[in-house]
Symmetry: C2
């Protein structure tokens, strides 16, 4: 049987465990060495394929690949770059075929979120529309947990665990300070359109009065008066108020609370600063002393506090991607299926990529409490299994050890290509 | 031998490990039960003593007290409240004597930083100036690491480990994104006047080009042009730039980069927002896409990532405080003495409180690189031992377990007192 090489790349915002998926893909390819040749990683995602900037993964030791499992960030470089339509931008696709042909690549693994699934879907059409025999599999990943079909997105469980833990810890801090000092603490978390990460903050407490006292979701229109009433109530009743607010918090008309005015390469508005904005409103309306934190990259890079469940699922989708490719399943994505809540059981099934790309999964309304400021029991049942278990990385000299890769470039065989 | 009761309270900004000191004080008092009666904790620091709001620690189980060792925040409540001079505010001191007399308290343990050491020093004068036989010991604590005499401040090692780890993790994130997206990441850390925490960020890397590429200290006047030149150089050379900036970063004339305009109860300016300020300057001057994070309370509450060395030292100063009190050493503070760098060895010695109160220890100039943007080898030698070892808390249902105390109030015996 002829052996062909595999291409693997990372795309979109990275997570604490995207490299665990890389590890799953690469280790599985190595185990299947009688059927798969070399693994070439694209430097900076699909751009690596277009510019023939390939990394020869075969030069990395087994230990280095194993260390990917506990290394945050995207080890091969990620990108925010969306392929245009095959009909209007045929040259790009022909270039991909040239590169794949030149390096004998017939397996394509793309590790990303909703936008990246779209790129993977377009690449998967090479075989049908342009006749190049490629099997393209999307490996799911996003801290936003907004991919459809899959019960949860690899990468989310770890950010959820980090935010829930940080909320619990910071709440103990402010609870000690509130008698004479800070009364309100605002933690801003990621989640542009979907409030999954904000919801995870609510896992920090559950009993009456336990912080956080309020979660502000992008799914619920921001009502300043209602928010202030709730803050005041919490401070009067418990002495302090802890708020977890999504970066995507917005008014009824869709305007974001914090809009930095920039857009990213996908055309999304770059957000940031809702925590200071909200804290300022509270100071203005109620006069309370506040503190605020913006976790930003810290939350999605915090591999030191990853969810063991998430690490295992991230590895598993990487492994399954290779298995699907070897079964000849083009344009698919390994999706997590929840078998039961408690005890938590899950399996991996194949989902058609066409049903995944460019879809966002929002919080169902029945996961958000009726008053709009917290989560329901159904949401808690859904979220709780995802943060279970710890998978601390090895530490060296007081700090987490991370994989050191050679990232050796594969010799170029083609002329340069302008993006 | 007559047995007297002990008073313990927490003051100032809390840390991830101040409760480990509480644990050290309380467990040692329990072991010395033939010489010390009950431990009464002041609710909200010295305010608990003044208002006779005392917590009967004897009602807490041994397990609950042991759990303090891995619980962040101040379990008995802290305060920002500084006693006035004994000469001008005699009534306050007479009230303290009344409360101590009413509850048979002759040992006073105050757990705090520089401002709190001042309060403890004033209380220690009760015996000399007002004739009440009290032994007052200060238990050191501050994330700022700015207490004099002690080689390092309990609480600092853990925030240092958190900031170094978070910097390393977030740097891997931005390194993966920089090809097509974010070029600059700014992490704002605490440290109003002293750059110790910012310096800890530099532990994330050491080799050429390893992030962080720049540390901005409060000790070095902020020079916008010099900072921008350095950012541009890093982006051109490494593709991205990671900056750790102290909240206390300031211009030559002393103006803070970010001044929220509020002051706390000690009269200090409330800072916050230097990260977005600096990120905005970079966007304006260089046009780079940025991300920024403000760790705020997260950094000083992150017990899940505490330094084992710090936990051990925090416990040890609590234990030593009780031992000093039993030796009749009034107005003292257990201080950490460094015996050797490598292997790191330390001991605890008694320091006179008069030499500690109201002093701030800044970064020595030879700990800051000549260009002002990084740390020297001497600094690295000093900092490295402080972040060694992990002391993960127990986790339950995916989250760190924390102590649940009864916090039962001791019955009041005196009339109310207006602060």
């Amino acid at each position: 049987m002829a052996k062909y090489n595999a291409f693997y790349a990372q795309s979109g915002g990275v997570t604490a465990v995207i490299n665990a998926s890389a590890c799953g893909v690469i280790e599985t390819c190595r185990r299947e060495s009688d059927r798969i040749g070399k693994v070439y990683a694209g430097r900076s995602g699909i751009i690596g394929a277009l510019t023939e900037d390939l990394i020869d993964v075969s030069q990395e030791s087994d230990d280095a690949i194993a260390a990917l499992r506990h290394t945050p960030g995207g080890a091969f470089g990620s990108c925010r770059y969306k392929l245009k339509d095959i009909e209007t931008h045929r040259a790009q696709y022909e270039r991909l075929i040239e590169v794949f042909k030149a390096h004998d690549i017939r397996y394509f693994f793309y590790n990303g979120g909703g936008d990246s699934a779209d790129t993977c879907l377009k690449v998967s059409q090479l075989s049908e529309k342009l006749g190049y025999p490629l099997t393209a599999i999307h490996v799911p990943k996003t801290v936003d947990n907004d991919l459809p079909i899959t019960d949860n997105s690899p990468g989310f469980g770890s950010v959820a665990k980090y935010i829930a833990t940080s909320t619990r810890e910071a709440a103990l801090d402010i609870a000690s300070m509130c008698a004479t000092s800070t009364k309100v603490f605002v933690l801003e978390v990621m989640g542009r359109h979907a409030g999954w990460i904000a919801a995870a903050g609510a896992l920090a407490g559950s009993g009456e009065g336990e912080p956080p006292h309020m979660v502000i979701f992008p799914e619920i229109a921001f009502d300043r008066a209602a928010v202030m009433a709730r803050v005041e109530e919490a401070v009067k009743k418990y002495g302090y108020c802890v708020i977890v607010v999504s970066e995507g918090a917005r008014y009824e008309d869709g305007t974001f609370l914090a809009d930095a005015g920039n857009t990213d390469a996908f055309g999304h508005r770059q957000l940031g600063g809702v925590a200071p904005t909200l804290a300022g409103m509270i100071k203005q309306d109620l006069g309370y002393k506040y503190h605020w934190a913006v976790a930003d990259y810290l939350q999605r890079a915090a591999r030191h506090l990853a969810s063991k469940t998430d690490v295992e699922q991230s590895y598993a989708v990487g492994k399954k991607a290779v298995e699907l490719a070897l079964e000849g399943k083009n344009a698919m994505m390994p999706a997590i299926k929840r078998v039961s809540d408690s005890p938590y059981e899950w399996s991996i099934e194949a989902a058609p990529l066409a049903e995944v790309a460019n879809q966002e999964k929002f919080m169902p309304r029945d996961f958000i409490r009726e008053d709009g400021f917290g989560i329901t029991e159904a949401c808690r049942r859904y979220l709780t299994p995802l943060i279970q278990g710890e998978d601390f990385p090895p530490f060296e000299n007081g700090l987490p050890k991370v994989a050191k890769l050679k990232l050796a470039r594969v010799e170029r065989k083609l002329p340069a290509f302008e993006l």
